[in-house]
Amino acid sequence: MSRNNHQSSIINNQSVKRPVVVLGLGNPLMGDEGIGVHLIERLVALAAEYPSVDFIDAGTGGLSVLHYLDGRRKAIIIDCAFMDEPPGAIRRFTPEEVRSRKVLAHESLHEADLMQIIAVARQLGQAPEQIVIFGIQPEQVQPGGELSRTLAEKIDEYVSLILHELEQ
């Protein structure tokens, strides 16, 4: 969580959006919840090999995801996900293949459901043709800057799956 890590993971102020975006979602201060951000930090080190891809640490910005999706051909979204899988499991899926179990209270802007944000983007005609989500089942979501050992030991596997997706 050093400042340099975060700076290195930003692609900002660029005038033209690249056709493919990889979004890492989550909070790295909440244990496995931050897996998306941890993976973006790894992937951004390889960014030079992928000139048509933006790698973005989208944190917990909620509805701001709308704007990261707009104007792209393909979006790959990496997020911590409860999927009834064993901790550390990673699953690749499209929005059509799942149903969100989240029940938002709509009390606050601070709530967010990625599946609803994708639905809004599609309704507005601002969604990429292809959206692929990599969900990673957490072992622990609690205050603390570290990933669980279960997820930390699988980082290389996760990275190679995402890179494979980028080759598609």
Binding site: S2, G61, H67, C80
Partner: protein, 436 residues
Amino acid sequence: MSKGTININVHHVTRIEGHGNIVLNAKNGKIEKLEWQVPEAPRFFEAMMRGRSYEDIQTIVSRICGICSISHSLVATKAVENAIGVQVSEQTDMIRLLMHFSEQFQSHVLHVGYLVAPDLFNAPSVVPLVAKAPDAVKTIIGLHRLANEWSDLIAGRTTHPVTLRPGGMTKIPTEQQLRELQDRIKKCMPNLKVVANVVLSVAGNLPNFERPTEYVSLKQNKPPTYTFYHGQIGSTDIKDTVAVNDWKTVANEYVVDQSTAKWTKWHRDSYAVGALARFNNNAELLSPGAKAIAKTFGLKKGCCNPYMNSVAQLAEAVHVIEAAIQLIDQILTKGLKPEVVRVSPKAGKASGAVEAPRGILFHEYEFDRKGTCIGADVCIPTNQNHANIQRDFEKLVPEILGESEDSIRQKLEMLVRAYDPCVSCSTHMLDVQFVR
């Protein structure tokens, strides 16, 4: 309905993310239970900051909240600088203020567009609102996009800023980028007025409810400014102001049984913070366009209808646009120059305050002589509003108890939404079931 039984239990618990619960039980016109119940939000961050360097604090706290991350980073940076005795340059101060304006604009547009508008159009959320009012939603999203790009330019990215450091900035925009930003900000004003007119067309759906309330916000006298960033702590109940370092004598945090979050009170048994509080303390200092918006909606200083917080947000959105245009002119007139920042750690303890979009936000830090954090305290606007939401409930419900259960529920939910509490912002993970 008043002679029947009412059981409202708006209770949303996802696996991790907390939500506020609304509980109302009434029988034969008598209220048996009426509670606004909330989980604690970001206290654990205070423990995380202990042992960290003074240079890292603003980066850590940027993750407390995905909506107010700029405010948390700015207030932490100010508190750290106060604690170690660092003064920043006028240039740094102006650029940070411009950054802060971007968050006010972003949050207010989002709040009015995504959270309040669905209520006014009788839509359960923004998703069905897209079908009901597609043009209005697209206009709102366009304004939101401008706000995000404004944050990107000054804060280094949309959320979780990375350009702040104690003593200065790690990166500043170029003069050309500022000119382009100013040009885009100027062009957004017609769209902002479109949104205001859309809200105005359905403003009659805002409940007519009033409760005399103490409103607390920053006040800045030198020079007199509608402030989000500088100044001391003011209240509609007093003429003087209180120094930021004395914020604990304002918040007077206390524990209640119905909530794990701490509540606050000052001159009364609750107080409110946020756009309406700022308006009630500083309305005469709004920009001309913002005053015009307030007038259009009939919003006057002294308003104590909490539902009008959303109108105050609209007025503030116009204000930050007009103030940002002026501020960019000032920055460009003085000219941008590179600055070398040299800061040495030293022992100290101090606080900072800014106005987050949802209200006044306090951070306090203590460092040892090596600049290692040995104490941290954060008091967020949402916690300062909890007691006030409860008191609003207690006055509102007897007034509407004769209405249908659905109507009562909606008015209570709308009231909570008007405050936009930050109760679930530090985690946003997916929770999905595979259907094929």
